[in-house]
Symmetry: C2
Subunit: 363 residues, 2 copies
């Protein structure tokens, strides 16, 4: 399958963020891309952006990518399978069990359908936010099933590879269980936490630190999209939340009798289990390795951070990550810079010799 690039033509149905981004990436590779959207203005916008041409009756696409909201995915996929009897059809919905089940119920020809899910959402939506590089280095799940042969599905894996993504094959059931754990349940838990702030006093929110900001950032997500995702993957999310509630119940019981025998141990194990869990998340570049982090003091004025990063760049050292720490009301900031452990001591020495104030670095 390697070295066999997708030749096209490819038809994209739905010119939102994902559809337009896929189209832009394919166009950049010279593929003939035809576009379709229920909204004429959305379609026109995507064409303006150079994402492809309007579809015509004579189109005979090799591959059709359905990029519509989860609620309507199976209906649109079924219609495309019927309208284009030579095409392979895939979709990009963030749930995979329900669309397949609905297609089977509709009697669709699933020998030409394979679901997929590029893990490349954004907080922004629409063609206006599309980017050809959106899938670069991101996992792209391909959910095979017994109704389609391996060879027939190859074009979808090739699509992912052509777009720079990392194809990962798993069943629809495994996919839905996995994203429930790493995406859907965390979304709901973050939203429930943020909802506690609705009636918070200003005196309370004035004490908010970076921890609260991080834990609630995704609570700013779009309700309309998330209703569809949560509903479509309800059983898998519910299973996780039931286990989470059991843990929460134990925590509440412990807090309600904080002087009972074993209470300290129960709380310590709760926090330690969290330590263990968070360590399981792979870092940047897909590796679970730990970077060395150093914290540099930066004046909160134009050009200071740039000067710091320029000097780091001059040293030929690549930052693996950069995080600015908020200081409400302060005219000073902290830049936490992650680098490979092998360059840490050189970086600290060089920056200190240039007059930067550095907190101790920890691995």
């Amino acid at each position: 399958m390697t070295d066999r690039r997708l030749a096209g033509p490819v038809r994209i149905v739905g010119t939102g963020l994902l559809g337009t981004s896929i189209a832009l990436a394919l166009r950049a590779r010279g593929v003939d891309v035809s576009l379709s959207d229920v909204s004429p203005s959305s379609l026109a916008l995507a064409i303006d952006y150079g994402a492809g041409r309007e579809s015509v009756a004579a189109d005979d696409p090799q591959l059709i990518v359905v990029c519509v909201p989860p609620d309507v995915t199976s209906r649109i996929v079924a219609a495309e399978l019927a309208a284009y009897p030579n095409a392979l059809v895939t979709d990009v919905a963030s749930v995979k069990v329900e669309p397949l089940r609905e297609l089977l119920a509709l009697g669709a020809d699933v020998s030409r359908y394979i679901g997929s899910h590029p893990m490349a959402g954004r907080e922004r939506s629409g063609a206006i936010s599309a980017r050809a590089d959106l899938f670069n280095g991101r996992p792209w799940v391909i959910a095979g099933h017994d109704g389609i042969t391996y060879g027939r599905a190859a074009a979808v894996e090739q699509l992912a590879l052509d777009l720079g993504a990392l194809p990962i094959e798993m069943t629809a059931e495994d996919h839905d269980r996995n994203v429930a754990l790493v995406s859907h349940a965390p979304q709901l838990i973050s939203s429930l936490l943020a909802a506690r702030l609705t009636d918070a006093t200003d005196a309370a929110t004035a004490l908010a630190g970076q921890g609260l900001r991080d834990t609630t950032r995704i609570a700013a997500s779009d309700p309309e999209l998330w209703v569809q995702i949560l509903r479509a993957n309800a059983p898998a999310i519910s299973a996780i939340l039931h286990a989470y509630r059991d843990d929460l119940d134990r925590a509440i019981q412990t807090l309600d009798a904080p002087d009972a025998v074993g209470a300290r141990r129960a709380l310590a194990e709760l926090i330690a289990d969290g330590n263990t869990g968070v360590a399981r998340i792979p870092g940047k570049h897909g590796q679970a390795k730990h970077f060395s982090r150093i914290v540099v003091l930066v004046d909160d004025k134009p050009g200071e951070l740039a000067r710091l990063l320029t000097e780091i760049g001059e040293l030929g050292i690549n930052m693996e990550d950069l995080r600015l720490e908020h200081s409400p009301g302060a005219q000073i900031g902290l830049a936490e810079i992650s680098v490979l452990p092998t360059v840490e001591s050189r970086l600290v020495g060089e920056l200190e010799s240039r007059g930067w104030k550095i907190s101790e670095a920890l691995a």
Copy 2:
């Protein structure tokens, strides 16, 4: 009280992160600082760092700052009150009701005690991570009580001001309720979420995105410290978790009957309530205003981000925040830059004219 800088001498008990940072800041202002710690090596390290001198029997401090773990705070404060009958004593523990209650039970002279809490923790601990600027621009809660006069407590407010912090007065009860909401309950909720990952498959964690990383970052916190905080503030935290569990129960019930009448509306309201809550968190500089954000594509190689920030600095535009988006496996990054809305269009125009690729800006 303004223009009345703390003259000292000041005695610091406990030379961990907070104690050493306070000492360093006072030394930088020329204050005579004496240090004490149960650990001789911790004390020697703080002295090596220039945080002050070892305490001697003849010391007659004006102010004593007790910077020890929450569990032992009241015992140490009581001992200091007894040993130094002329001194005002404060502490920096992240709970305030329990130490005061314990001091009253111990019969301590609370007419010379006022609790405080600088909101300036770090993921790192120990004298080795101390910084004189740690409190710059941070809220510093001062928890008054009926046993001490306003004038007697003034030196603690002056300490906070001298260290660049923003003194905020509230009762011990209000403080504990507020930090339960913005710090303690979020810590526990994040730990419980991360604990769900303990048994996750590699296939699941490979799909982890920035949302999971953000929601679980603080789950890496130290169990020993958090056991003390959670236990000492158990009633306030439990009250929030009870309400949180009620919301969670409703969410689980909805997910267990996702096709019931009203299920979609219930899920939409849950996500929308999260939207409302997260919007209550003030941004940088203590203001609840929204910055404009633009997203710029940056090659993942040394110097590229620096070049971007240099050019932004040359435009005289101050970044209010900067966030790098992770792209596992990718050689490209996204820099999300927050700026004042008034400079957004100029920044976008200037950067695009210099060849930077920019995603559409959203307010």
